[in-house]
Amino acid sequence: MLSLRDSGKVVGRLVSIRQLARQCNLPFPLSLRQFIRAPGCPFPQCTRLHIKVLTNSNIPIETMLNDMREVYSTAGIRVEVVSREILTGPNFTFLNDLDVGACTMGSTTAEQYQLYENRNFVGANEVVVYFVRSTVPPFNGCAAFPAGRPGAVVAQGATQWTLGHEVGHVLGLVRVDDNNRLMTGNGTAKITKPPPDLVASEVSTMLGSNLTVPC
């Protein structure tokens, strides 16, 4: 069974257990198992992530996930972590500084193709995020993926919002010129008034993606 943490069902500020029960139309006292298993609660749609780590990011992955969840919850999307895997060994040493070329959607390098072959536990319509040491050229992250293998790469020096931003690209969002928004193209380190916003058209795009599924 998913942990409460990985279920993504508790987002942002702590709420009381009674409020959680009420949100999900569940009886109080609340059963944790029932809460985690309750479909469509508290959000009707889910993005399911698989975290695969070659190098841990400087900003803890849990921080990035919490920040991503805070933003995605405004779109009614729960971010569920389905699996976590550490990728070690000589095969991964040479993918840890990943050649991503121009990081162009629809075009991937041999190294990206090789890394994205690692899809243990990944089901249909689920997204893999690979945490690497660096990309070549240097980017905070890159959301170009081989056909049929949706995912993104996040570099060690990424910001707290890079994960949400890159998965946003995977869900079909494009860069904007607005530092109040998650998809700012000016650098997520420049995001003002956190948490950053998603606008209505972006929410529609995300909910329309085949990678956002009923919870």
Binding site: T93, R133, S134, F139, G141, A155, A158, T162
Partner: protein
């Protein structure tokens, strides 16, 4: 008009810099890039090093040489990657990177030589193919040595 640090940062602060567009800043950006390479933010320093390699300036080499001496692996990786963009990469710079203790740096500089072969390095790369401590590096060096003069 002189290029300001703000203009440079406007490009490099992006999560996904548009490096070809940033390279249009030209040689006037180089002093700012040198400053960033020497700064305390390794992500920014790595982006600055790579951008310097795309600006075809006689001062680009100096920025990469500085980056190749960084204590941060990712900055040295960027220097190794940048070598492939230089019109004439200095052999001492390449030699430094080929001897780097980090296997990722050695991989990336070998990949750069694969993309942009440089004369005078065949013997060096052949030696790596024989003696490097890492099997992947030895194999990669062997493939690349065959293409060098």
């Amino acid at each position: 008009m002189p290029v300001t640090m703000e203009q440079v940062r406007a490009h490099l602060d992006r999560d996904e810099p548009d490096y070809p567009a940033a390279a249009q800043l030209g040689a006037d950006a180089i002093p700012h890039l040198m400053q960033l390479v020497q700064g305390s933010d390794p992500m920014l320093a790595s982006k600055a090093a790579y951008l310097a390699s795309l600006i075809q300036s006689d001062r680009s080499n100096a920025v990469l040489e500085q980056a190749a001496r960084s204590s941060h692996n990712e900055v040295r990786i960027a220097a190794a990657a940048g070598v492939r963009n230089l019109k004439q990469a200095p052999v001492p710079l390449i030699d430094t990177l080929l001897k780097d203790l980090d296997v990722g740096v050695r991989k990336v500089i070998l990949r750069s030589l694969e993309v942009q072969p440089v004369k005078g390095l065949k013997a060096k790369v052949q030696e790596i193919a024989q003696k490097d401590s890492d099997a992947f590096i030895r194999n990669l060096a062997k493939q690349i040595a065959n293409r060098l003069q």
